[in-house]
């Protein structure tokens, strides 16, 4: 059923999923891993409090992708951050301006925000249509428009961002907003590193979902991830040593 050339990959992916699941189960039984502080996520509450003091809204966006392509993992995390921000907004009673550029993301965002308000016991304050949508071609200008007209106190862009991240970051900064951003794209990470007050880089974005979760098993998945990183690093090291002595056995196994 699985052709030669894919078998090693299948076994590896399956083993990795098992390791992550094992780590999640272990954490659920009370051995939760230590989590170093993610300043960008801790600053979300600071942003919302700042917005309360200034009487201004907070702009939050999970990015410009949809939930059906290769960016969906990043989008799911971004939506989780929007949900967490919505919960804080409901708690402190401020307005959030969630934006997106795909309608399937919009539907998911609406549901996530509704659940956040319900969780804070303020379901009556949630209004359907909170999320602002603009197609990808005009999304950047919509974000600039929000910056110019509504002057948010903070701009949170954790998720799939490309040019939109740059537009959002610079236009919001002009209005004095705090910028928090994160992406798994290495090219944009350099821009975010230079221009944001707080930013998440690479896998930190994907770990954000576990970080904000109250569930210990979600946090446990990060321990599984660290174990796999050690395994992959060891594999690279062994591969390099074997290649240096002229052996291609590891390559042949991985290509199987």
């Amino acid at each position: 059923m699985i052709p030669v050339g894919r078998q090693a990959g299948f076994v590896l992916v399956l083993s990795m999923l098992i390791v992550i699941y094992w780590a999640m189960n272990r954490a659920r039984k009370g051995k939760a891993p230590f989590f170093r502080k993610l300043a960008a996520i801790d600053a979300l509450e600071e942003c919302v409090r700042r917005a309360v003091e200034m009487g201004k809204p907070v702009h939050v966006s999970p990015g410009i992708a949809n939930l059906r392509d290769t960016s969906s993992a990043e989008m799911v995390t971004g939506i989780g951050v929007v949900g967490y921000t919505a919960r804080l907004a409901a708690k402190y009673g401020i307005q959030i301006i969630p934006t997106c550029s795909w309608t399937d993301t919009q539907a998911q965002l609406e549901e996530c925000i509704r659940l956040s308000y319900l969780q804070e016991g303020k379901g009556d304050q949630y209004k359907l249509g909170t999320v602002r949508y603009a197609p990808q071609s005009s999304y950047n200008l919509m974000v600039v428009g929000i910056a110019e007209t509504e002057k948010p106190a903070a701009n949170i862009m954790i998720g799939t961002h490309m040019q939109s991240g740059l537009f959002g970051m610079e236009s919001m900064r002009r209005q004095g907003a705090i910028n928090i951003a994160g992406t798994i794209r290495n090219i944009l990470s350099a821009l975010f590193a230079g221009g944001c007050d707080y930013f998440l880089m690479g896998e930190e974005v994907l770990a954000a979902g576990a970080y904000i979760s109250d569930d210990p098993s979600a946090k446990g998945s990060i321990r599984g991830l660290d174990m796999l990183k050690l395994f992959c690093s060891a594999l690279i090291l062994v591969g390099a040593i074997l290649a240096s002595v002229g052996s291609d056995i590891l390559m042949r196994i991985l290509k199987y």
Binding site: R6, P62, V81, T103, S116, F167, E203, S221, K229
Partner: protein, 214 residues
């Protein structure tokens, strides 16, 4: 776990399982079911288009009804443009004039605005670079130095100023930058696996089922 949630979880495990298996397996039934699931996803996503249109409409109609100062004329213009484009687009195959009008709108309005928007990126990059390169730490110094080398490698005048610029910049891109990128990509790949598993088990807040309350 209640029955509704269990059913949702079972459906998720089945659907994602089939899609993952489709990547690895060459089996007619699995490949056929997976291609159907992908098609359903597109169809379901198409339903959400009405939500987008309704959201866009209600936002701008709200501005017009409230006569929001400095906003409502633009909202009116936006709605007019949407209706116009929708009308010409829908009737383009039936009425030749509509087709011409649709092409005119796309070629002479939308494309020009898109190009102008893209041009703004340059200005934002400059302002961002200026802020990024101002600082008195070792990190900023390294950032500035590698930035100068890479910019001058790409600029035609760089090689004229000093022939070593492309050599140093290529080394920066091929060695330290590549090493960092590979670590970055490995972390992202494994992180994606963990996120998918969390979403699958309803432990991810942004995933289906919300993950609220574990």
């Amino acid at each position: 776990m209640n029955e509704k949630r269990l059913a949702l979880l079972a459906a998720q495990v089945f659907l994602i399982g089939v899609i993952v298996l489709d990547f690895f397996a060459k089996q007619e039934t699995i490949n056929y079911v997976a291609s159907n699931i992908r098609m359903w996803a597109v169809v379901i996503a198409a339903f959400t288009l009405t939500l987008g249109a309704a959201s866009l409409g209600s936002f701008h109609v709200g501005h017009i009804r409230r006569r929001t100062r400095g906003e409502w004329p633009f909202s009116l213009w936006t709605l007019l443009c949407i209706v116009m484009t929708f009308f010409f687009g829908m009737t383009a195959s039936a009425i030749p004039q509509s087709d011409a009008a649709y092409k005119y709108l796309t070629n002479t309005v939308l494309n020009l605005i898109s190009t102008a928007t893209f041009g703004i990126t340059g200005f934002y990059m400059f302002s961002l670079a200026y802020r990024s390169f101002v600082g008195r730490s070792i990190d900023v110094a390294l950032f500035l130095l590698s930035g100068i080398f890479v910019i001058l490698m790409n600029a035609p005048s760089g090689e004229v100023i000093w022939s070593g610029f492309p050599i140093v910049a290529t080394w920066i891109l091929d060695v330290p930058s590549m090493a960092g990128t590979r670590g970055f990509v490995m972390g992202v790949g494994l992180g994606t696996l963990a996120t998918v598993l969390r979403a699958l088990l309803g432990k991810e807040k942004g995933g289906v089922g919300g993950g609220f309350g574990g």
